[in-house]
């Protein structure tokens, strides 16, 4: 049977734009500190003096006990997958990233499957959002042990962590 249709007349449209890049956003220096660590293959987290949780990348305030997370702790670059999702094969013309085709500009191979994951790095109490590399989608499971794939040339940038791969 399928979906019922709702046909309606269309009236004239008045066009307009809203430049969302025109806002003056402010951020904290925490990410600067985090990427400085990445340059030396160090994952920095913030430590909560109230509940002892370690959050990676660092945050200013603890979301549960609202204490200032002044402490710092370096956590392992090995960890456990707490959750994953799997894309269908990404073909040319299927996906847009910032208006660009990721296959056309060489970010993924034609037909490649992308596996976004949450990783809990050993010594941390948070999920870090990244991507699983060098793995067969059939083998991925919650609890899978992984380690960071570091960029060949470390630049002190978020791109220094290319993703994680199975140990």
């Amino acid at each position: 049977m399928g979906y019922l249709k709702d046909e309606r007349p269309t009236t004239i449209g008045v066009e307009g734009g809203w430049n969302l890049g025109a806002y003056h956003y402010k951020g904290s220096r925490l990410l600067e500190e985090y990427v400085a660590g990445l340059k030396h293959k160090k994952l920095t987290g913030s430590f909560c003096p109230g509940c002892a949780r370690v959050i990676v990348p660092p945050r200013n305030l603890c979301g549960r006990c609202h204490r200032k997370m002044d402490g710092r702790k370096t956590v392992s670059d090995r960890g456990t997958i707490t959750c994953f999702v799997v894309s269908p094969p990404i073909y040319k013309g299927k996906l847009k990233v910032l208006g660009m085709d990721p296959v056309e500009i060489g970010l993924v191979k034609d037909g490649q499957v992308v596996i976004p994951v949450f990783v809990k790095f050993d010594g941390s109490d948070s999920n870090t959002d990244t991507v699983l590399l060098n793995a067969d989608p059939k083998d991925v499971h919650i609890g899978m042990r992984v380690k960071v794939v570091w960029a060949k040339e470390l630049q002190g940038s978020l791109a220094d962590v290319e993703g994680v791969e199975p140990i």
Partner: protein, 156 residues
């Protein structure tokens, strides 16, 4: 306090979100009729208040206003207030200086109760006054678009 601020300015780049607002049937009729150099209004069947452009609900008495309540107006009116604008938005969150100031007027059309805000041209600054009789100046080629009304100008 340390010398370095804990807050950093976030670099952004242009990220335009586009909109295309549907105007509804009453406003559509108003816009299309501009092609024939006519200005339409709508007279509330409940209280007689006349809106320009026409609309489908009266803000004064809450009566529904229908297509049959649409009336044709003369396009002439009276300036009831005005201002000189020296700057305009630059589309990037800031203001830019205009080459020469423009006059924006509040015009009450004959037989209408609501007010249109439009540029007023063809009048010397010393002649600008509340109560000035004005009329629509049409774009050379009208095609049924809001921009068909170029501005208002003094009558005669």
């Amino acid at each position: 306090m340390e010398g370095k601020s804990e807050i950093v300015e976030v670099k952004t780049f242009p990220f335009p979100a586009g909109f295309n607002w549907a105007v509804g049937p009453m406003m559509e009729r108003f816009i299309r009729t501009l092609a024939g150099r006519k200005v339409l209004g709508a007279r509330c069947p409940g209280c007689g208040y006349t809106y320009v452009p026409p609309r489908s609900r009266c803000g004064q008495c809450q009566a529904a206003i229908a297509e049959k309540d649409v009336v044709e107006l003369s396009g002439k009116g009276t300036l009831i207030s005005y201002t000189n604008a020296h700057v305009a938005p630059d589309g990037n969150g800031n203001l830019k200086d205009l080459e020469k100031p423009i006059v924006v007027g509040a015009v009450k059309l004959e037989d209408a109760d609501s007010v249109l805000f439009m540029p007023v041209e063809g009048v010397k600054p010393q002649d600008l006054k509340i109560g000035l009789a004005v009329k629509v100046r049409w774009r050379e080629e009208t095609k049924g678009a809001v921009a068909d009304i170029c501005c208002f100008e003094p009558v005669g």
